[in-house]
């Protein structure tokens, strides 16, 4: 690992942690309706929204009402996005005349964006009209993120309140998350990204002259439109000369800003943030990468403020950061070490001042190894799933790190809202395990953790591994599942496992060699995303409701303090043991076998 690599990683982690308190404190003031600047200046807009939607912001909801409102809103959003994709061919703002999307792909994408997964089964610039990108995808980028934040705030109120039967108003939490947190941050980030070269225009794709024309071979078609065959039955090719380059553009910056901030990750273009128009410079890369973890990290502090004990928030943030930083220092050297198969060919993979070296297949030169591997860890630690390099071409173990981070349940920072509520559920399990060991009734933040909470927590923790493992098992057993694989052998298995790990934890990144835009994968992964999102959100809200109704137990000599290094270790242990136990066998079949084959051969 080079000195510069260490420096870039250090700067990134320090800036991220430095933002946690100011942004976290601001968000706490927003959710508690204390003065925070924007929520006073824009208050008329907020009131107008409630009036237009006939909502009384003063009315609080029980957890069941909260869950129904959340599910209904998400369902309607999903249906709207489905319809928009199917109809885009006849709708305006479609300068490239792209046709409507197939039903299975439209279902997959609608689910993908409503669940904050943003798995891309399609290539943006060749599939989606500007209207669909804006009115469909950008909107879901905002509201799916705001939905996660609302669920988190509801759970937080469960801890903060005593003997209460309500956990807040979903519409208010949704509106405030969007209006005061996501929109301002996204607007600023979008404009900074434009200054770096991210495109933002409604003009059609631009054609420019090439300096050197390109010729390529194309199958020759007969008069009947069929490929011509020679006497031996081989296809006849004809050379085609290309003298121009068509540059795909569009309103990209506005979508990219929120795709990063809302841990969505669905790119404007096919290759996501590897595309120079989506991520043109090292600075744009740094900011996009910061935006991935910014809100999830800051929400830990928000949580601490709202439960009236900021140490609790810091403890959770510390647990996340320890795992995150450790895995950075595993992934970056693995990628920097390069591919032994290429060393055998005499290729120079040594990092020097004049070249990044390492495993550069699928990576962009301006980001090099450090920023590609760091991004991969960040985007899978969060449930973001945007990529600035092709994970499919990572070294076997370098690619296993992002896969495993998803399999841990997307709780190392995790998705906006969903990551922290997932981690709080792990904390509930951790105090339960500790309670069993010391023989006391477990408590967390003054609330007794009883059978009902532990049952709900178990659901939250066990459903994702179930979805991932069963989905992978089904896909490798059926021909339509295996037919989509791009790389043979152990790596092909990794492609399928990665896809279900991504969908089953609402991440969205991919080993993109897998041709996932097929009816089988569109449907199977669509279902996995639905289960992973709502089968977790609803039990979480149930815990919120149950906790809110409880009284507070005073902290006594027998209570386990949950802000100490000991608890941080216990929490990390719980996350790792559940993740490790559930997935080690299946990881051994994919990345580990491939690693042994690759390094054994060379």
């Amino acid at each position: 690992m080079t000195a510069n690599s260490l420096l870039q990683i250090t700067v990134y982690v320090l800036v991220l942690l430095a933002c946690a308190k100011p942004l976290g404190g601001y968000m706490a003031r927003i959710y508690e309706d204390r003065p925070a600047g924007l929520n006073r200046w824009l208050a008329p807009v907020e009131r107008l929204i409630y009036r237009l939607c006939s909502i009384n912001p003063a009315v609080e909801m029980r957890w069941t009402d909260y869950a129904v409102a959340l599910l209904l809103f998400n369902l309607l959003g999903l249906l709207a996005l489905f319809a928009l994709q199917r109809l885009q061919g006849v709708l305006p703002l479609n300068p490239q005349d792209l046709p409507g999307i197939s039903p299975d792909s439209a279902f997959n994408t609608a689910v993908s964006f409503a669940t904050n997964t943003n798995w891309q089964g399609y290539g943006g610039e060749t599939t989606m009209s500007y209207l669909t990108q804006m009115l469909g995808l950008t909107v879901q980028n905002f509201v799916s993120a705001a939905t996660g934040m609302a669920a988190l705030v509801a759970l937080t109120r469960g801890f903060a309140r005593r003997n209460a039967d309500t956990i807040g108003n979903f519409w208010v939490d949704l509106t405030r998350s969007t209006l005061y947190i996501l929109l301002p941050l996204a607007s600023v980030l979008a404009l900074v990204l434009v200054s770096q070269g991210v495109v933002q225009t409604f003009s059609p794709y631009r054609t420019v002259a090439l300096t050197q024309p390109v010729t390529y071979e194309q199958a020759k078609l007969g008069d009947d439109g069929q490929t011509l065959k020679d006497a031996a039955g081989n296809a006849v090719n004809e050379p085609v000369e290309v003298r121009e380059q068509t540059l795909a553009v569009g309103p990209a910056a506005s979508q990219i800003a929120i795709k990063q901030l809302g841990t969505n990750g669905g790119g404007f273009f096919n290759v996501n943030s590897a595309h120079p128009f989506e991520n043109p410079t090292p600075l744009s890369n740094f900011l996009e990468m910061l935006a991935i973890l910014l809100i999830p990290a800051a929400l830990c502090y928000t949580f601490g403020v709202m439960v009236r004990d900021t140490r609790q928030g810091w403890a959770i943030l510390a647990a996340m950061t320890v795992v995150f930083v450790t895995l950075i220092f595993v992934a970056v050297p693995l990628e920097q070490a390069g591919n032994p198969a290429l060393s055998a060919l005499g290729v120079d993979q040594q990092a020097q001042a004049a070249q990044p070296g390492g495993n550069m297949e699928g990576k962009e030169l301006r980001f090099g190894i450090t920023n590609s591997a760091l991004w991969a860890v960040a985007t899978t630690a969060a449930s973001n799933g945007s990529v600035n390099a092709m994970h499919d071409s990572f070294t076997p173990l370098g690619g296993m790190i992002p896969m495993w981070l998803m399999q841990l349940g997307e709780v190392i920072y995790g998705g906006v809202g969903s990551g922290l509520y997932g981690m709080i559920v792990f904390a509930i399990v951790a105090v339960f395990v500790a309670g069993l060991m010391i023989g006391r009734t477990p408590e967390y933040l003054g609330k007794k953790i009883e059978a009902y909470e532990v049952k709900m927590a178990s659901l939250v923790i066990l459903i994702p591994p179930f979805v991932v493992l069963v989905g992978t098992a089904v896909a490798v057993m059926v021909d339509v599942g295996k037919a989509s694989v791009a790389n043979a052998g152990a790596h092909g298995f990794s492609e399928i496992l990665y896809a279900f790990s991504s969908a089953g934890n609402n991440n969205g990144s991919a080993f993109a060699g897998l041709s996932a835009n097929t009816p089988f994968y569109n449907t199977a992964l669509g279902l996995a995303m639905l289960f992973a999102r709502y089968w977790l959100a609803v039990p979480t809200l149930a815990i919120a409701g149950a906790l809110a109704a409880k009284k507070v137990v005073p902290f006594g000599p027998g209570s386990l303090p949950t802000h100490t290094p000991l608890f941080v270790v216990l929490l990390i242990g719980t996350v790792l043991i559940v993740g490790a136990l559930a997935f080690l066998p299946v990881l051994a079949l994919g990345p580990v076998v491939e690693h042994l084959q690759l390094f054994g051969l060379h």
Binding site: F73, N141, T178, T201, A209, P282, G358, E361, S393, N487
Partner: protein, 197 residues
């Protein structure tokens, strides 16, 4: 349940207008006002008014007199900027070794006598298939070939290339790099480089 249906529907409508229409339109307006060049694709102007490409999007070069960029995996031809794509070849895929071997052979064939080891970025496909950059090492590797093909002194071309190296942003972020499209355009335009008689 039905009591929530109406607010859910109206809320989706209002938030769609706010985040799907007002927000992108406002960002577009400001972007076109303050950074029109970047917002429209950072095009490279030419004397006749037609753009000669984008500073951010690579182009395919296979002629020996030009510096070559990263291999591109876009279909059906390299550097198709209307359909970005990586190769997605796994590290243990024999097709990766074949592709890299073929690229090494092509580089060696146009540059017989150059036995320096080849920087990895020059023989591996970029993630986007549109990467405009190569490493300074990959540019330096090609200097002898380009100098020979253009009849230029190696030292002068080496110095010309070094002037086109972009350093890490703020000295820290990213990697040092050379923009192949801009370098080749500058090379075609240059009057300071004089062929060796």
């Amino acid at each position: 349940m039905y009591v929530h249906l109406k607010p859910a529907f109206l809320m989706l409508l209002v938030l769609t207008l706010l985040t799907g229409a007002v927000y992108p339109a406002a960002v577009t307006g400001l972007a076109q006002l303050f950074a029109a060049d970047q917002a429209n694709g950072s095009l490279i102007p030419s004397a006749d008014g037609d753009a000669r490409g984008s500073r951010l999007i690579g182009q395919a070069f296979s002629d020996g007199k030009y510096f070559w960029g990263r291999p591109s995996a876009t279909a059906p031809y390299p550097y198709n900027a209307a359909a970005s794509s990586g190769s997605n070849l796994g590290p243990s895929n024999p097709a990766l070794v074949q592709a890299v071997s073929a690229r090494i052979a092509a580089l060696r064939a146009t540059d017989t006598g150059n036995s320096a080891s080849i920087p990895v970025d020059l023989v591996t496909a970029s993630g986007s298939g549109l990467d405009p950059h190569i490493s300074p090492a990959a540019a330096a590797y090609q200097v002898p070939r380009v100098a020979k093909q253009r009849g230029l002194p190696v030292a002068a071309l080496q110095e010309f290339v070094e002037r086109h190296v972009e350093l890490r942003q703020f000295g820290i972020l990213g990697e040092a790099r050379v923009n192949v499209v801009e370098l080749n355009l500058a090379l075609d335009r240059s009057t300071s480089l004089k062929p060796v008689r």
